[in-house]
Amino acid sequence: MRHLIDIQDLSVSDIEELISTANDIIAHPDKYSEVCHGKKLATLFFEPSTRTRLSFEAAMYELGGNVLGFSEAQSSSASKGESVADTTKVVSCYADIIAMRHPKEGAPLVASLNSTVPVINAGDGGHFHPTQTLADLLTIQREKGSFENLTVGFCGDLKFGRTVHSLISALARYKGLKVVLISPEELKLPSYVKSEVLKPAGIEYVQTTSLEEYMPELDILYMTRVQRERFFNEEDYLRLKDSYILTPEKLKTAKESLSVMHPLPRVNEISVEIDKDPRACYFKQVLNGKYIRMALILMLLKEAGTI
């Protein structure tokens, strides 16, 4: 049984197939509107995440399927002390595919080891969020046409930002990547990501605390939010949360072809005035997220022999 726990579970050709299917869905939505008729997606969300859950649910509905599940641990048997393994075994009896979000790292892996249906990791704490990375990749492919020879700036919380780690490791498989790491000293990219991903792949990278310094060179600027929930100390959060705010002024030196991305939700790291700029891609990322999740559900259900 194939699952998606980590973006590394997908080969380059799997990603190409998913992007190709997503692009076909965008071009011919009618062709896909009944392919999951009679099939059920269970959304097991042990912590609230409206955006990701609605994206999965919209994806399944647009494929003609149905959705069941819960949106917080309090409304599941977990509140009675049931294990992830048992919850998964039970839900496998009702649903054809599972999307799970859990505050504990590794919970979706535990689910996949106990499930008789495909499990998709919809985010496990600060660990993995592979479908966000797929949404990012589809956006980059649609905006840039290719993953090769790109200079990508990652800005904000590069320490706890799991979307940054996943996207770097996904892009590291393509030729000509250059990475600009923009963060305060305290939120720099962890050294293991540099030593285990960037260095072995021979990727050129620079670290800076300045958002402006490399702006003219960037093809993509990937902004991130400083996440309150990742800090044990409120003071540190308050000190660092407004380290970078992207304004029209700061974009003046950027290429016309720059794509500004953000996994959302944003707080104030991108000024709302940027929303009108044609280089802003973050709401397109949301839409692309739904299409790539549709493609993923299709791929996993086909491989499981369900459709």
């Binding site: 790292e105 919970a107 600060g126 285990e196």
Partner: protein, 141 residues
């Protein structure tokens, strides 16, 4: 110092000096009824000093624990007083319930029945990572 020869059992040789007691504890040898000898700081031409453990019973031992604590040991299996097998181990690729994940955000921190499983990521630097959360095993895990 005289230690009786073993009739049927296991000799774990070439343990780096100082790690013998760690192995003794992790293997739970203190719970055995059979004779167990631990020799500390024995002279070794190859290692200078080494520890040796002799277990006078043909019992299964957890090779993953031995491989993790002392990957370069030699395991000698003795039967009827004769050395019948000499085995090297190396670092195990997977460690199951040998060390514990210390990450408070890991699923193993709340679900007690789960096995603590680590995979070997880098044999040269002896880096293991938790299969659930990818946290690096610390030396005192």
């Amino acid at each position: 110092m005289n230690i009786d020869s073993i009739k049927n059992g296991i000799v774990i040789d070439h343990i780096p000096a100082g790690r013998g007691m760690t192995l003794y504890d992790l293997l739970g040898l203190g719970k055995l009824d059979c004779p167990v000898a631990i020799i500390k700081n024995a002279n070794s031409s190859a290692m200078g000093k080494k520890d040796i453990i002799k277990i006078d019973a043909d019992i299964p031992v957890n090779l993953d624990i031995i491989g993790y604590v002392a990957p370069n040991v030699t395991i000698n299996i003795i039967r009827d007083g004769v050395l019948c097998e000499k085995r090297s181990i190396g670092l195990p690729k997977i460690l199951k319930n040998v060390i514990r994940c210390k990450n408070p955000r890991c699923i193993t921190s709340t679900e007690q029945e789960l096995d603590h499983v680590f995979r070997l990521e880098n044999a040269e630097e002896k880096i293991y990572r938790c299969v659930y959360c990818d946290t690096k095993a610390s030396s005192d895990s």
